[in-house]
């Protein structure tokens, strides 16, 4: 058996045992995850299907012979594929750093007589699977919705499947290559140079995104030409998502020669990119890996400098035992570049969101739309918050890992440890999200009632989502795993994300319902509306109470039963 096959053999067996071990998981957990996953999948499918149907109807009413809706759908399809492409590059950069350099098995594998290109190849394949499975899961409803709405032939679905596999290899190669270059270059740079490069990168990204948003503001009267012109950026034949879209869209029209052409373009590149990566890995992987081995010593000279490094003094006012625990969590977070770099990206998302709100409401004079936008704003803000808590707070207990005995044996109760994580979550995420709620309310020029509901809901959800993340993190810890990204993508992490979405949906739906009824004048008097509003506030408060205390209690009980 070759080295590559040996590693794939091991991976296959690991997967087999992991699947078999699902039967030992809680039945409730598996049922909730399965049902929620199906619900989300169906939700995406029907949402997209309805959207595509609406576009087709909208296009056929434009009075032009050609259905504009079809053009818009094709552009949107390419736009979505482009977004997936960029997401895959980014996700591969992060996953590759762990898979190629930081995973525990890397050192073990490199002790064996396996060449760097073969080592890279197997780790690359793992990277592809790990970073792309969610795209496959969410891509299926997109393809089905698109196909059903245009009544595509069977070959459309087969083409999408056949094109998907070579397609994901291209962003994966680009992502892996970026990681290898970053690891090769960054440890050799001085801190000041790194900061300058980082700032230039962030400024460029914001400039690019805001320039794109200027062109696509939905409230412009000239929406169609602007949209078509803005989306023409993704219509370049040199851009891989275009190859995928062209091939798949042509298959719907049974344009088989076009399909074959784009498939050949795609497959040629899907061979070329990983090949180039594997060849380059022979030269650039090992110098970077070797350099990274001594990284700790180089970093040590920066320790003890800067605001966050002196956080102990700043947080001296915190009572025992919370101060040392909070300081430890903040320092560990700050010193893990993969963690805070993702955190910065969330800031970017927030900034883009705020930038996109400019002048939006002045085009919506109707009260129904204004109240609907206010509710959608609450949903968007809470989804950003849920992403923060799911990605950064949920893994906190698991990240204690093999070190759990240190705090487990200290004269601190488990309950105190759990509540420390909870308050850390609330206190760190609230300033960002409540600030964002205030700012977005101002930008949207919300009426006082909507403004109050926005801020109130976000404050409340800071507690609810933190409770869910910390409680479920303790209920389903992965002490064996050191990589937060992998902890989050496990069964417990998925359950947390799904329950968070469910909680948000209940909060937002109850408010939307009551506000829409008011606008549609279903309440016979303002007095009844006030009572209904009071009822909704009590309902979401109770829901939040449950979202905090049920998972926290269950998590606490689970931690008590864990052997350290």
């Amino acid at each position: 058996m070759s080295e590559v096959l040996a590693i794939l053999y091991a991976k296959k067996n690991i997967l087999k045992h992991q699947i078999l071990s699902v039967k030992d998981e809680s039945k409730l957990k598996i049922s909730v995850i399965t049902i929620s996953a199906i619900a989300i999948w169906l939700g995406i499918f029907f949402g997209l299907y309805e959207g595509f149907e609406w576009l087709l109807k909208f296009g056929s009413r434009s009075g032009i012979e050609v259905n504009i809706g079809e053009l818009l759908m094709a552009r949107m399809f390419t736009l979505l594929v482009s977004a997936v492409f960029l997401f895959l590059i980014f996700s591969n950069v992060l996953v590759a750093f762990f898979t190629l350099y930081k995973a525990e098995e890397v050192q073990y594998l490199l002790h064996a007589p396996i060449s760097f290109d073969k080592f890279f190849l197997v780790r690359f394949l793992e990277c592809v699977v790990f970073s792309s499975w969610s795209v496959a899961f969410l891509g299926v409803p997109l393809i089905l919705a698109y196909g059903f709405s245009i009544k595509a032939p069977v070959i459309f679905y087969i083409t999408a499947l056949v094109f998907f596999l070579p397609f994901i290899l291209i962003p994966a190669s680009i992502g892996n290559l970026i990681t290898m270059f970053l690891v090769l270059i960054f440890p050799r740079l001085k801190l000041r140079t790194m900061v300058i490069i980082g700032i230039i990168g962030v400024v460029f990204l914001f400039w690019y995104v805001s320039s794109m948003l200027r062109g696509t503001r939905i409230s412009e009267d000239t929406i169609l030409p602007v949209f078509v012109s803005a989306t023409s950026r993704v219509q370049s034949p040199l851009f891989p998502p275009y190859w995928f879209s062209e091939g798949v869209l042509n298959s719907a029209k049974l344009n088989l020669s076009e399909v074959t052409f784009w498939f050949l373009v795609l497959i040629a590149n899907a061979i070329f990119f990983p090949y180039i990566c594997t060849v380059l890995a022979n030269y650039i992987f090992y110098p970077g890996f070797s350099e990274l081995q001594g990284g700790g010593r180089r970093r040590s000279k920066f320790l003890g400098k800067g605001l966050l490094e002196n956080i102990d003094t700043l947080l001296k006012w915190l009572p025992h035992p919370y101060q040392p625990l909070v300081v430890k969590d903040i320092k560990l977070f700050w010193r893990d570049a993969t963690q805070w770099s993702q955190f910065i990206i969330f800031f970017g998302i927030m900034a883009i969101y705020i930038a996109n709100l400019r002048n939006t409401t002045k085009y919506f004079e109707e009260e129904m739309w204004r109240s609907f936008i206010a509710c959608m704003n609450i949903a968007s803000l809470s989804l950003i918050l849920a992403t923060l808590t799911s990605r950064f707070i949920f893994p906190l207990i698991s990240l204690e890992g093999h070190r759990f005995w240190i705090i487990g044996l200290a004269p601190i109760t488990l309950r105190q440890i759990l509540w420390q994580k909870f308050w850390l979550s609330v206190m760190t995420s609230a300033p960002f999200t409540v600030g964002l709620a205030v700012l977005s309310g101002y930008m949207l020029q919300l009426a006082p009632l909507y403004y109050f509901l926005t801020v109130f809901s976000v404050i409340l959800m800071n507690f609810g989502l933190s409770g869910l993340a910390v409680g479920l993190g303790a209920l389903y810890p992965s002490f064996e795993e050191d990589n937060p990204a992998r902890i989050v993508s496990g069964l417990g992490g998925t359950l947390n994300l799904l329950l968070s979405i469910f909680y948000i949906a209940l909060v937002v739906a109850s408010q939307t319902l009551i506000l829409q009824w008011r606008v549609l004048q279903h309440f016979t008097s303002p007095q009844i509306f006030r009572w209904a509003l009071g009822g909704v506030i009590v309902f979401v408060s109770l829901l939040t109470f449950l979202a905090v205390f049920v998972p926290m209690t269950l998590g606490y009980k689970n931690l008590q039963s864990v052997e350290y």
């Binding site: 080295e3 002790h111 064996a112 001594g294 010593r297």
Partner: protein
């Protein structure tokens, strides 16, 4: 069998290993001693090809590990202090995987695997998932995997962690016997000076990145003004570390 020429590793301004030159002949049991942070792990990483030296070269069986890592690694077996094993594989699946990494033919590894499983007393647990193994069992499985491809050089980093006295004796005797019967070269980094004194043919002491002593147990002991046991000599040769750390504490 193991040769280093001016092996040096510098991290920023810190010299972790300084101009390490030594030669360990085939069939030798070599114990590498040194205080914490002396440069033992860095040396092992350079010998096993995990880290590129800043200067100098390391040879395994005459092969430069940097120039021809794959060929050099075929000769090496490595046992780390905290063994990494795939928790979701059974012991047998793990050994099959290792056999694949070293390209051992199926009949050969099957025969060898059964022999080693029996020898390291893993028969009862070999088909269970590794996540259910105790630390000692993991360490024994790690030894089994290390010997599967019949290495000519075994590099062992503090192997006694987690082993009970019976197994410590077994591993000690097994390694020693292999150096005699099959001319295996053992490079063992350890803090257990008693064992080093008992089984080492050659001892090397590294201190602040420099090799400060190299020779047989008797030769090392003779370096002290008042020759006693190895522990006394070791503490005398490396004493300025303690003095420095005590000064720092003050």
């Amino acid at each position: 069998m193991i040769r280093t020429e001016g092996l040096t590793k510098i991290f920023g301004e810190k010299v972790a290993v300084k101009n390490l030159t030594m030669e360990i002949p085939r069939g030798t049991f070599f114990c590498f001693l040194g205080p914490n942070g002396a440069g033992k792990t860095t040396t092992i990483k350079m010998l096993t090809g995990l880290m590129r030296p800043t200067k100098g070269r390391a040879f395994i069986g005459g092969i430069d590990i940097q120039e021809n890592p794959v060929e050099a690694k075929k000769l090496i077996g490595f046992v780390p202090d905290h063994p990494f094993l795939y928790d979701k594989l059974t012991g047998r699946e793990f050994l099959k995987f290792v056999a694949g990494l070293y390209r051992i033919s199926e009949p050969e590894y099957k025969e060898r695997m059964e022999e080693l499983i029996h020898l390291f007393e893993l028969t009862q647990v070999i088909d269970e998932l590794i996540e259910d193994y105790s630390h000692g069992m993991r360490q024994k499985l790690s030894f089994t995997a290390c010997f599967l491809h019949k290495p000519e050089v075994v590099i062992v980093d503090e192997p006694w962690v987690g082993l009970d006295p019976k197994n410590i004796r077994f591993v000690k005797n097994y390694l020693k016997e292999k150096t005699r019967s099959e001319e295996l070269t053992v490079f063992m980094s350890t803090h257990t000076l008693g064992i080093a004194e008992e089984i080492a043919d050659i001892i090397g002491i590294i201190h602040n990145g420099s090799l400060c002593a190299f020779g047989s147990v008797e030769q090392i002991k003779a370096l002290s003004d008042k020759p006693g046991n190895l522990e006394d000599v070791f503490l005398e040769l490396t004493k300025d570390t303690d003095e420095v750390s005590m000064r720092d504490e003050k």
